[in-house]
Structure formats: C-alpha cells, structure tokens
Amino acid sequence: MNTGQLSWKRAAVDIFTVLARWLLGATFLYLGLNKALHPVDFLKLVQQYDLTQNALLLNSIAAGLPWFEVFCGLLLLTGIAVRGTALTLLLMLVPFTILVWHQALLLQAAQNIPFCAVKFDCGCGTGEEFICRKLLENFLLILLSVWLLVGYGRQLSLRFSLIKLPSH
C-alpha cells in the first residue's frame, strides 16, 4: 500500500470518527432532553422495571439519568474526554440493553406473541418502539461507543483526553 492510499484511508477513518462522535453525542443529547423535560413520565417508566422500592433511589435515577445523558452528549459533541465518555456510555448502554431485553421477554411471555412483535416504551426517550428495532439501535450505539473508546480520530475535539500522557 503506498503513502497516498494510507493517508486517504486515514482521512476516511478520521471523518467517520468525527461523524460517529457527533451522531452519538446528538443522540444522547436528544434522548436525554426528551426525558429530562418530562421527568414524571420517565419516572413512571423507570418504575415499571421494578429495580427498587426505595423512593429516593428511584427518584434519583429518574431525575439524574436524563441530565447525565445530556451531559455526556455535550461532551461528545464538543470532543471533551471522548474515550472516558464513550466508556461511561458503554457502562450505561450494556446493562440497560440487557434490562430492556429482559423486560421484553417478560412482556412476550405475558402477551404470548413473537419476540419482535413486542412493543413498549422502554424509557429510552423515543416512546413506544418494537423491541427488535430498539435492540438494533442500542447495538449500533454500543458499536459507536466502542469505536470511540478505541481512540480513533481526535479531529475537531476541544480536549480529547483530560489527562495528558507523559511524553519522553
């Protein structure tokens, strides 16, 4: 592979990474605001998962999570602490996706319908959705987060890493 091809490939990866970061950031900003502006609706949706009976904990999740997503979305859009934010999102996305999948299995059993026909509001900020579509969306968000976590592309980032590695 010659130098020209390499630099073309590198430029393509950089462009894709910046777009991925903006897409992920905008998605979390949108989803977070959707929930943050209707906290009671989100609280009811969180309650349906039977995560806890403790009111303080339940309220903290419903009050904090949407704004936390907004915060992460802003960090990604501006390009601050990109890898740390990507890992934080992964740590939220993976358990949440498992939770949604589990809830869908319960609903499937209760309604006796095919898995992909299960439709409910998972509290993701997009309203009622078919479960297979939701899982696919989450899978894509997980992939984008992993891509950013790997550390590709620092273009158009305000501060890609908060902590600078010592240079020798």
Binding site: A55, G64, L87, L106, N112, L162, P166
Partner: protein
C-alpha cells in the same frame, strides 16, 4: 541483526507499548470517574433548577402493588383488571361508567357535594376533562392542595379519574388525598377514566374548570 528481546523493551526507559497501553487504560478509567462525578453534579443541579424537576425525597408511588403487571398470572387478567385488584387491595372503591354518569347527573354535583377530580397533568386536563372536574396532578400535589382540599373536605363523594386502562394516577391521587385527611369512604376511583368517558360521547370541557367550553354531549 540480533533478535529484539522483550525484556529489553520492557526495561527500556522509553515507554513500551504495554506500559503505554496500561497508562492509557488508567487514564480512560480516571476520565470515566471524572465524567461520572461532573455528570452527577450537573444532573442533580439541573434537576434542582428545572421547574419540572423531581423532589428526590418524595414517594411518588404511595400505592402498594400486590400484583405485578409482568409477574405470573399473565393471560389470566388484563392490565385494567390487575389495576382494579390493586385499587381494591389499597382499600379504595371503584365506580364503573354508568355509576360515574349517574354521579355526574346527580343534582348534588352542581352543589359541589359530589366532586370529580382529574388526576392527569395540566396539558391533558386542558385538552379535555369531565366538565367541572378539579385539576389535581398527583406528581405536583403542592401546586393543587390549596385549591382542592377545601372542596374535597366539603364534598360527600369524590370521584377520581385519569386516562383509564392501566393508568394508576387516579389511585395515587386518591391515596394522597387520604393521606392528608380526606375520609376514605368518600373516595371513589372511576377506572374507565377519560378514555371511556369520551368513547361514550359524554361531554368534555376544555381549558380551565367551568370554562363553559364543551364538546360532545350525547348522554
């Protein structure tokens, strides 16, 4: 050319790929911690500032849940039937559509001896409520108590409703009213809610209480 020994690389004063990766991983984890702390501070501050923010210490779901909508007995009971069982389990009384219509046409309704309480949020209430019903969003009780408590204390019967179906906001509202001293025997839940009411082409009032803006009145 001599082979490159791995020990030589490890011992090199210049950062080796392995130690570089470790340092990067460590930095990413530190970043996660910083993002988590800053994000939590941002989130709770935003909730505090937001006029729609939640009160963290309030129990928004005072009703006991004896049966879960997703547990066991799947096909046996519909969500509405499960909710009816839950309402009875919480010591509240249910009224059906016919009883609600009777109470609405009862002369005591005009004298405020029978009161309808709409337990939905403000925007839904304004879109259309049972004519003369008082607005009481159980998730913002402090905003409404001053207006509705005197009416509820004076009333003989209080009919609380929300959307109907599996909506349990009417139950939450009734329990809140009971918790502030409204007698339990006065409280009734109209399970069919506004959905059943409008499906039956009964009159609906839009805007504020007693605005006089009515639509649909076949019964």
């Amino acid at each position: 050319m001599p082979p490159i020994s791995t020990s030589h690389v490890k011992d090199s004063p210049i950062q080796s790929p392995v130690s570089g990766r470790r340092a990067t991983a460590k930095n990413v984890f530190v970043e996660v911690l910083l993002v988590a702390i800053a994000g939590a501070v941002f989130a709770f501050a935003a909730n505090q500032i937001s006029p729609r923010g939640l009160v963290l210490t309030r129990n928004y779901f005072p009703a006991q849940k004896p049966v879960s909508a997703t547990n066991a007995t799947p096909a046996a009971l519909s969500p509405a039937e499960l909710l009816a069982a839950q309402i009875r389990g919480n010591g509240l009384q249910l009224v059906d559509g016919d009883q609600a219509v009777k109470l609405f046409h009862d002369p005591r309704f005009k004298q405020n001896s029978i009161v309808f309480i709409d337990a939905r949020d403000e925007s839904h209430y304004r879109e259309g409520h049972i004519p003369g019903a008082c607005e009481f969003d159980p998730y913002r009780p402090d905003k409404y108590f001053a207006a509705i408590l005197p009416i509820c204390r004076a009333a003989e019967q209080i009919v609380v409703y929300c959307n109907g179906g599996d909506c349990d906001d009417s139950e939450t509202a009734a329990i809140l009213l009971r918790n502030v001293g409204i007698a339990n025997q006065k409280l009734f839940i109209y399970g069919g809610g506004i959905t059943e009411w409008t499906d039956n082409n009964l009159p609906v009032e839009t805007g504020a209480r007693n605005s006089g803006n009515l639509r649909g009145a076949n019964r």
